[in-house]
């Protein structure tokens, strides 16, 4: 391992040495001139030499050239080109501030789109999609909530489990195989209201990018994707308020300078108000009814000087539902503290401390109006949580114009509390019960290089070495064979901090680009990923009660290998981006569950888990139009995902529950004039497999069915069309207060898309009722017919 890292290092070091020549560097940051937000992926080019670099995720760039005077061209998508004469006689730092091209002053301006216009063709990375946060706000929405995750679901290679579900199934991977990072802090349950909405308040978000493959070596821990979401830094030029009123929630974002040009803040909140109406009602049934979620994002960004920059970011969001005495609530909290430092002109350092905490609780609450034993005998509360604290040190070394080297280390400590039962009141029939915590350490180190081999060939390669330790205190069961009560051989007690089991793995990542000509390229990639955390979820919906557990002596890590290749083409001066990608993915040691698995409060939950292999392959076609009055994209995906897991489906291969052969998305947005924009989308997914019985029988007074095999039936295809119109009323340019309206209609042609398909008795009633005859039928439940919504947005 050590040798491998050293040899990679040498390779990198040698290449610049060979072309040793007296060179100086120009480095700095590119920013938006109106808000001071740094621009990701902006291009800085020395025109005389025709060499250019792009800014990294902190807006930083570094370019090398022989001493001399140059015309520096700086540009980004949606920004004016700026030229500046700069004399380089020594290593120089220069910050560029560039203005936007189009007058979008009347609108909430959020930068995030990859500013480099030809990135589709030129970039080494593939299988990656940037979400245009600005364009997203013009598209139709459900209940008036703009949702990054819903946008991602319309991209090729991303499957959706069902209507209104924010789970992401990336290239055949499970919903637990996505690393969702908000300002680099992992979000463990990104859903509100059981997955109808995601936790990301679009007003506070700057950029979102999903990696379906070719995940950089810097990131690890999940098999299938990386969703990298970054929040806005806050305007450091002037105070700004942005907000909106929607059908179910309201939003307000405040941002501004604390010290002009140096220090800014942003605070953004969103809350639903359905429960407030319920409170107005005085009926006893609505006593103690809770039904809300909220999000709060806050960030302070401080540019201490040219070389140092720090920020503190935090997120807190919560859901609470309570009715008829039963309540469930869950919350995510994340925190990020980061220090960017530039050593010299070429070494960019990033020190990050992140914290994440996911909690859920449920139970039957005590009856406030009635203190009797009868009204309170079943009162209890169940609580569970997961905490993570991670320290990362990342370096980017802009070695020269041909090599950009990344390296770093990470250490992480996680505490999993699978659950604790707390009887409520003196009359509860329950007893206090606590499951043992799990404790784990993760460490990783990585080294990578983005290398321009020639004008045509560019490669990005890296190696990540991940280490995992499951430690005490814990009581550990060992099994002889398939974990089960009958194969239990030993029970071992480990002390606090004592090593129970350790795993490690090498994760090579490589992607390469061959430029056919200025407007087309082919790319290929391979990556291996390990996952040391498993989500014990046995349902399609992202329930908060699904438990994260670390790898243990029994639950070995999951592993995936993916190869992908593609053809990329831009047309009409980057107006159109086209891509075609194919991939094949092998999943090893994937988690599924034996029939009738009991995952709730099970102290030996490993006896319910079964491990096996899965594979997925597919073709993804994508066309996106970026410029002009008409913008949008069309994508088509053909894919297949199967699993083979001993003791699941009697060892026979079966389709994943999110396997859909065909997926189509058409998303269009048209600017009619300065005031009006109309947009629409159509999505289609062929039927997903479900499990239906073949026979039925009688047992006592029950009428059960017999299931011949898992996922033996395909439900009808999912398709839906949504439309929207965005109206910017005529407003004086000099007026600070600007507003716009979004009118959306979800599911225009009222397709009754199945949310669930299930078996039920044909005639309701008891066994002894005349009408009950034991006959059964298959029924579907659909959630949303036609849903209109309106949102009012403002900024000043």
């Amino acid at each position: 391992m050590k040798n491998l890292i050293l040899s990679v290092f040498f390779l990198v070091l040698i290449s610049p040495a060979l072309m040793a020549q007296e060179k100086v560097s120009l480095s700095g940051v590119v920013k938006d001139s109106s808000s001071g937000e740094v621009l990701i992926g902006a291009v800085v080019k020395l025109e005389e030499l025709n060499i250019g670099v792009t800014t990294n995720e902190y807006g930083f760039f570094s370019i090398e050239a022989p001493a001399g005077t140059y015309t520096v061209l700086v540009y980004g998508r949606g920004y004016k080109k700026m030229r500046q004469q700069i004399t380089l006689d020594k290593n120089t730092t220069f910050n560029f501030e560039i203005p936007e091209t189009v007058l979008v002053t009347k609108e909430v301006v959020v930068k995030g789109k990859k500013e480099k216009e030809d990135a589709n063709v030129q970039d080494t990375k593939m299988s990656t999609i940037q979400i245009d946060v600005k364009q997203m706000k013009k598209l139709p929405v459900l209940f008036g909530e703009v949702d990054i995750i819903k946008n991602i679901q319309m991209m090729p290679g991303i499957q959706v489990a069902g209507e209104g579900n924010t789970g992401l199934y990336v290239r055949g991977g499970g919903a637990d195989q996505n690393l969702i990072l908000l300002d680099e802090a992992p979000v463990y349950n990104a859903s509100h209201v059981f997955g109808i909405f995601s936790v990301f308040n679009s007003d506070a978000m700057k950029s979102a990018e999903i990696y379906k493959g070719g995940i950089p070596a810097q990131f690890g821990g999940r098999l299938s994707s990386l969703l990298d979401i970054r929040s806005k830094d806050g305007n450091n030029k002037r105070f700004k308020a942005t907000g909106g009123l929607g059908l179910i929630s309201s939003r307000l974002t405040l941002e501004g300078p604390i010290i002009k040009d140096k220090c800014s803040y942003i605070i953004s909140g969103r809350r639903t108000y359905a429960d407030m109406f319920l409170k107005l009602s005085n009926q006893p049934q609505f006593d103690g009814v809770k039904l809300y979620f909220y999000d709060l994002n806050a960030k302070i960004n401080y540019n201490i000087n040219e070389k140092n920059k720090v920020f503190l970011a935090g997120y807190f969001g919560k859901d609470a539902l309570q009715a008829a005495g039963f309540g469930i609530d869950w919350s995510n909290a994340t925190g990020t503290a980061r220090w960017n430092h530039i050593f010299g002109d070429k070494l960019f350092s990033n020190t990050t401390l992140v914290y994440s905490n996911f909690n859920y609780g449920l139970g039957i609450v005590e009856n406030k109006r009635d203190q009797s034993a009868e009204a309170n005998s079943t009162a209890f509360r169940w609580e569970s949580n997961l905490k993570e604290i991670t320290l990362k040190q990342d370096f980017t070394w802009f070695a020269n114009n041909k090599n950009e080297i990344g390296f770093g280390v990470l250490g992480s400590y996680k505490i999993y509390n699978p659950g604790e039962l707390k009887p409520q009141g003196d009359n509860s029939i329950f007893k206090a019960f606590k499951m043992d915590n799990y404790y784990s350490f993760d460490e990783a180190l990585y080294l990578s290089n983005k290398q321009k081999i020639s004008t045509r060939i560019s490669v990005e390669y890296g190696l990540r070495y991940s280490i995992f330790q499951n430690v005490g205190r814990d009581t550990v069961f060992t099994y002889n064979g398939t974990p089960d009560r009958s194969t239990l051989v030993d029970t071992l007690v480990y002390r606090r901090g004592q090593l129970i089991k350790s795993y490690s793995g090498l994760e090579p990542r490589i992607s390469g680009r061959f430029l056919i000509n200025e407007t087309s390229s082919i790319k290929a990639s391979y990556n291996r990923t390990y996952q040391y955390q498993h989500l014990l979820s046995n349902s399609a919906s992202p329930l908060p009660t699904s438990q994260w557990v670390p790898s243990t002596n029994v639950l070995t890590p999951q592993k995936a290998d993916q190869v992908a290749g593609g053809y990329f083409k831009n047309l009409k001066e980057n107006t159109f981006e086209l891509s075609a990608e194919v991939y094949y993915k092998w999943l090893h040691n994937v988690v599924d569950f034996k029939d009738n698995a009991d995952l709730i409060a099970n102290k030996s939950v490993e006896t319910e888990v079964r491990r096996g292999k899965g594979w997925s392959y597919g073709l993804e076609l994508f066309v996106r139009k970026n410029k002009g009055k008409l913008t949008g994209w069309t994508s088509y995906t053909w894919s297949k995902t199967q699993f083979n897991i001993p003791e699941v489906n009697e060892g026979r291969t079966y389709y994943a529950s999110y396997d859909r052969r065909h997926n189509v998305s058409v998303v269009l947005s048209y600017d009619i004039n300065e005031q009006w924009n109309i947009a629409g989308n159509w999505v289609m997914g062929s039927g997903r497999p479900i499990t239906l019985p073949s026979q039925k029988f009688v047992f006592n007074n029950h009428y059960p069915t017999y299931i011949p095999e898992r996922n033996n039936f395909r439900v009808q295809a999912y398709h839906r069309m949504d439309i929207s119109a965005t109206w910017h009323p005529k407003q004086k340019v000099e007026r600070r207060f600007k507003s716009y309206w979004n009118f959306s209609v979800y599911n225009v042609y009222m397709r009754k898309n199945p949310f669930t398909v299930f078996v039920r008795d044909k005639n309701e009633g008891t066994v002894d009722d005349e009408i009950f005859n034991g006959n059964k039928e298959v029924a579907k439940l659909w959630l949303f017919s036609l849903i209109p919504s309106v949102t009012y947005n403002f900024t000043f």
């Binding site: 009715a323 005495g325 349902s539 073949s694 039925k696 017999y706 078996v759 008891t766």
Partner: protein, 277 residues
């Protein structure tokens, strides 16, 4: 409690959805599905209790999912039950696939009982252990009005029992209103005592009652194997297609030889109360 979690979560999800959509949509519709018919499988429903009454076994066959009517009974089987002390109890066809011992018998706590069924040359066997069941201390009814936890006013029944501490016990509950089972055919009431304190007092029974109703409750002790069958049965009967619930799966019975169902040996206790004003 476990089933309560899954079902209530589903209920409150729907409640949340209805609140969101203000009852705008969210509905169900029957789907027309073509399912392959298959040959009928033998279904066993056997019960031995510690109460003095005939041992009873019911045999039937599965029918195709879409077939109307009730499944056919098996009337040509040879059925017997033996205990681990060398006693054998032959069972005789009564009618409609129901087989009973000639007279009343009484299972004994701690013994293993083995069922042997022969149908058309195939033999099916199952063994279960009869475990003790704690008594029901009291059962009573109270009139209650609408409040935050109930949407219907009327008489509600309550019961108290005990559960031996530091033991792993599993129970099946059955409830009757005037000797008719209460609730839907999909209701299965089971519990394991992992979460229970030893004093189980003032637990509300399902259903609402009127004056003059006879409320009856039965508790059956279960072995872990039998409990897992009922757990699977409850999951299957209340399955929503795998969205909130687990993927639909067969209830894991204890019959060897390829038959479905369960042969259950149970301690049985029951109590009842007449609802009075």
């Amino acid at each position: 409690m476990k089933l309560l979690l899954v079902n209530d979560m589903k209920k409150y999800f729907l409640l949340a959805m209805i609140a969101l959509t203000s009852g705008m949509s969210s509905c169900t519709e029957v789907l027309d599905v073509e399912l392959d018919p298959e040959d009928g499988k033998v279904v066993v429903e056997g019960l031995v209790t510690d109460q003095l009454r005939p041992f009873r076994v019911k045999l039937s066959r599965t029918i195709s999912f879409s077939q109307e009517g009730l499944p056919p009974a098996i009337d040509n089987a040879t059925v017997s039950i033996a205990d681990d002390q060398g006693n054998t109890f032959p069972l005789f066809l009564e009618s409609n696939g129901v087989y009973k011992t000639a007279g009343a018998e009484q299972g004994i706590v701690g013994r293993n009982y083995t069922l042997t069924v022969t149908v058309d040359g195939s033999t099916y066997t199952a063994t279960d252990k009869l475990l003790a069941v704690p008594p029901i201390d009291t059962i009573y009814s109270i009139y209650r009005t609408i409040d935050a936890t109930r949407f219907e006013e009327g008489y509600y029944a309550y019961a108290s029992s005990t559960d031996p501490a530091n033991e792993e016990n599993y129970y099946l509950y059955k409830f009757y209103r005037n000797n008719t089972p209460v609730g839907e055919p999909s209701d299965v009431y089971i519990n394991d005592d992992r979460f229970l304190s030893s004093n189980i007092a003032a637990v509300e029974l399902p259903g609402t009652y009127v004056v003059g109703d006879l409320v009856k409750m039965e508790i059956y002790s279960l072995t872990r194997k039998s409990y897992l069958f009922y757990f699977g049965l409850a999951s299957l009967l209340n399955n929503d297609g795998g969205f909130f619930s687990t993927p639909p799966a067969n209830a894991p019975g204890n019959i060897e030889g390829g038959a479905l169902g369960l042969f259950q040996a149970s301690g049985l206790t029951s109590d009842s109360v007449l609802v009075a004003p």
